[in-house]
């Protein structure tokens, strides 16, 4: 990470997927690196299965907690369609990390709108540095679907060049002890994921 500038990470997904925990682990990591950090979350109505976005900014000095459109260095998307919805927030040359999972929104379930096909290929055409991983399967391998968020954190942390020991310390800070072993395993799965 370049010390002189602010690094912007946009975490998007569907309400209930655990994006907030992911952002808390990431911000803990940034603090351990000695950066100024700001995080913006949305609570309330959107959390009921709506499209949710969490923004994390880190650097020597951060003013705004929000990332301007087109300025994200990395987008971590917990779901395919959400990656497509938010991709214009990514700067040219940025990195897109996608959990290769589809959660159909109600208008699609109702048959009123269509879930687009070949989303990852579509995104890859616009964003050369696109990485897709099946975090749900990897989480399931660790014993709990809910750990998919931490699998994705593992992949993101490696992509961002954080030291692994520091990541595990951040996990210890932010995850309740009884889920720590599960989440450490999930983090390793993401870190080692072949993409």
């Amino acid at each position: 990470m370049d010390n002189g500038k602010v690094t912007n990470i946009l975490i998007v997904g569907v309400g209930g997927q655990g994006t907030i925990l992911a952002s808390r682990i990431l911000s803990q990591l940034a603090r351990e690196e000695g950066y100024d950090v700001k995080v913006s979350e949305i609570h309330g109505m959107a959390q009921r299965g709506g499209s949710v976005v969490t923004q994390v900014r880190m650097g020597q000095k951060v003013y705004s907690p929000l990332i301007a459109e087109g300025q994200a260095d990395i987008i971590l998307s917990f779901e395919r369609l959400e990656a497509l919805r938010w991709m214009h927030y990514l700067k040219k040359g940025g990195t897109m990390i996608i959990n290769d999972q589809a959660i159909e929104p109600v208008p699609v379930i109702m048959g009123l709108q269509e879930y687009p096909d070949n989303i990852i290929e579509r995104i890859r055409k616009k964003i050369p540095d696109t990485v897709a991983v099946d975090a749900l399967s990897l989480a399931r391998k660790c014993g709990n679907d809910k750990a998919a968020n931490v699998v994705l954190m593992g992949l993101l942390a490696r992509k961002m060049g954080f030291a692994k020991e520091k990541c595990l310390r951040a996990l210890e800070e932010k995850v309740p002890p009884k889920f720590l072993e599960l989440n450490k395993k999930a983090f390793e799965e993401g870190w080692n994921a072949e993409v």
Binding site: S40, G44, R48, V62, P65, G70, K91, K92, E104
Partner: protein, 591 residues
């Protein structure tokens, strides 16, 4: 020690450090987490009140009693609490009182985007606006000191981006203050006209003293840079301005009422181009114009929604002679969207197993006119249920159902009010009393899911637990309705669709008012999920009747409907709609 805190966590920390001993609130996004955090600190008594007015009145009593007090609510909550606020501005306090108003520009989770800064001017009380979490913490302390020094309530106004953004906060120690003694003083605290006339003079005199105070407060400061552009701003917009126009001089106002006139005049005189940038109303701009200072504000910047870095850059660039001071990097084009594909919307939805779903399904089947209210169940207005006609404010369903019925007597039997348990206790009770008193025949459906769900599951007077998680006497909703004069009160299980339909039809048709309590805990509170349903392949005729429920656990397949068994909670509504019995509990399927 530094911690990464949200604005709300920092406000709670500030209240703790500043020696607050009493706090009251009603949950409302984006204010809820203030009390949820404050209750964890030792030496602070914190409570959920049934509504914001009562929370404010609890604060009034505690402050007159001499304690330091915090009262918190979302912007529209201040409408409810306005009555005690305006007269507390006359009586003044004894111990300091800070009212946190959490506004929601952009309406992330609200029914309007009113600008509560106007309340400060209206009630003539000081107004503080933090830009980040550190300021949230610090300004609670300043607000309490100001409150005691000037004998007035003080409003601390945040917005969603301040309340729900995390930034670094330096923690301090709690300053243990003794509660001031209470001294009886009817001239000050009993606002009969003769006393109130005298107090109004005190308010005006206080306003003058406050004008002097704000001129030198460190919360109002100038960041001098290049004097070709000067910007007056406060709150979250300050953070955007520092990023977008790093080269400009900025007058940052931490106290936005009353305004520091001398400071503003001096600043205006020293800069070439003068802008005022604020979200929503031209609150600062109008007051600055009244001083006779020409400033560019709402002529350029939007009055609707949130202001972004991009808007600030674009708008200033469109008029300034000093483009070199703008950091136009925020305007750099990012990745193009894929224009070949239509992206389906993803609106919020009722959860799988939500006890509200069946009620709205039946109301939609019966083609009822539904006067709605504020809560998760407002989602009943969205497709495919589309079973809500109005949603105005907390409690409005009940009174407006009576109004609709009085305007259209022929609609009797086709109009119902639908209101959640927490919302009913907040401000539905008086509406129901009105129905009984004025001989309405309205049916009120209380969706009793045993919690305040939308804001994240807070307790309320019917749950039997306080904010401190102590057991308490729960109010009996059925008994309460009867006591108000409603004779027909029925409790139903919203998972039993046939019975639900019969009860709603019978009660709506009755010639006297009725209350139906649809009782089931919120699906998110039920720890043990039931066995999921599955589709028996040969039996499903793919008629999609079950899909009319809008359940996220059901998907239209090519040959049959498909149940997502991870999401399904086994509520069984879909199986009750299935004409062929194809939806079966897991384990019941043959073959």
């Amino acid at each position: 020690m530094k911690e990464l805190l949200t604005g709300n966590e920092a406000i709670a920390r500030g209240a703790y450090e500043s020696g607050v001993t009493v706090a009251a609130a009603y949950p409302g996004t984006p204010s809820t987490e203030i009390l949820e955090n404050l209750v964890r600190y030792p030496g602070v008594y914190a409570q959920w009140s049934p509504n914001e007015k009562v929370a404010m009145e609890v604060g009034v009593g505690a402050a007159i009693g001499g304690a330091r007090v915090l009262v918190a609510m979302k912007h529209v909550g201040v409408n409810v609490a306005a009555d005690p606020l305006f007269t507390l501005a006359y009586t003044g306090v004894n111990g300091g009182l800070v009212l946190v108003s959490a506004d929601d520009p952009g309406m992330h989770s609200s029914q309007n985007e009113q600008d509560n800064r106007n309340y400060a001017r209206f009630a003539k009380v000081p107004l503080l606006e933090p830009s980040n979490s550190q300021e949230c913490k610090d300004m609670v302390g300043v607000a309490l000191e100001l409150s005691e020094q000037f004998d007035t309530p003080v409003i601390l106004r945040t917005t969603t981006r301040v309340a729900h953004s995390q930034s670094m906060v330096e923690l301090g120690e709690r300053q243990e203050g003794q509660a001031k003694p209470y001294v009886k003083n009817p001239q000050k605290y009993v606002m009969v006209p003769a006393h109130a006339r005298g107090r109004h003079l005190v308010v005006e005199e206080r306003r003058k003293r406050l004008h002097d105070y704000v001129e030198t407060s460190p919360l109002n400061r100038v960041d001098w840079e290049d004097r070709r552009i000067g910007i007056i701003t406060g709150g979250i917009v300050y953070e955007y301005v520092k990023e977008v126009v790093p080269g400009a001089s900025v007058l940052k106002l931490g106290i936005t009422f009353p305004l520091p006139e001398r400071l503003i005049r001096e600043f205006a005189a020293q800069v070439e181009e003068l802008y005022v940038i604020e979200e929503l109303e031209p609150f600062l701009e109008e007051q600055i114009r009244l001083m006779g200072i020409e400033v560019t504000g709402k002529k350029l910047f939007p009055r609707v929604g949130e202001i972004s870095q991009r808007v600030i850059a674009e708008k200033i660039l469109s008029v300034t002679a000093h483009k070199d001071l703008i950091n136009d990097a925020v305007l750099a084009e990012g990745v193009e969207t894929d224009k070949d594909v239509r992206i389906p919307v993803r609106p919020p939805v009722m959860c799988p197993g939500c006890p509200h779903r069946g009620v709205f399904y039946i109301l939609s089947q019966l083609k009822m006119t539904v006067m709605g209210d504020i809560g998760c169940y407002t989602l009943g207005a969205l497709p495919p249920l589309e079973a809500m006609d109005t949603c105005i404010c907390m409690g409005a369903s009940v009174g407006s159902a009576l109004g609709m019925e009085k305007a259209h007597p022929e609609m009797h039997g086709k109009v119902v009010a639908v209101i959640g348990d927490s919302t009913f206790l907040h401000s539905g009770i008086t509406g129901l009393l009105d129905i009984a008193y004025n001989k309405g025949a309205t049916t009120t459906i209380i969706l009793d899911n045993r919690t305040t769900a939308m804001t994240g599951h807070q307790d309320h007077p019917a749950t039997g637990r306080t904010l401190r998680k102590e057991p308490t006497n729960p109010v009996d909703l059925a008994g309460l309705a009867r006591a108000l004069g409603i004779n027909r009160v029925v409790v139903v299980d919203p998972f039993d669709l046939d019975n639900l339909k019969n009860v709603i039809q019978d009660e709506a048709a009755a010639d006297e008012p009725s209350v139906i309590i649809a009782q089931r805990p919120c699906a998110l509170l039920v720890k043990e999920k039931g066995l999921p349903y599955v589709v028996e392949a040969g039996t499903c005729i793919n008629c999609k009747k079950c899909m009319k429920l809008g359940c996220p656990a059901l998907t239209a397949g090519v040959e049959t409907v498909i149940v997502n068994t991870t999401l399904c909670t086994g509520c069984g509504l879909c199986s009750q709609l299935c004409p062929t019995g194809a939806l079966k509990k897991e384990g019941e399927v043959i073959g």
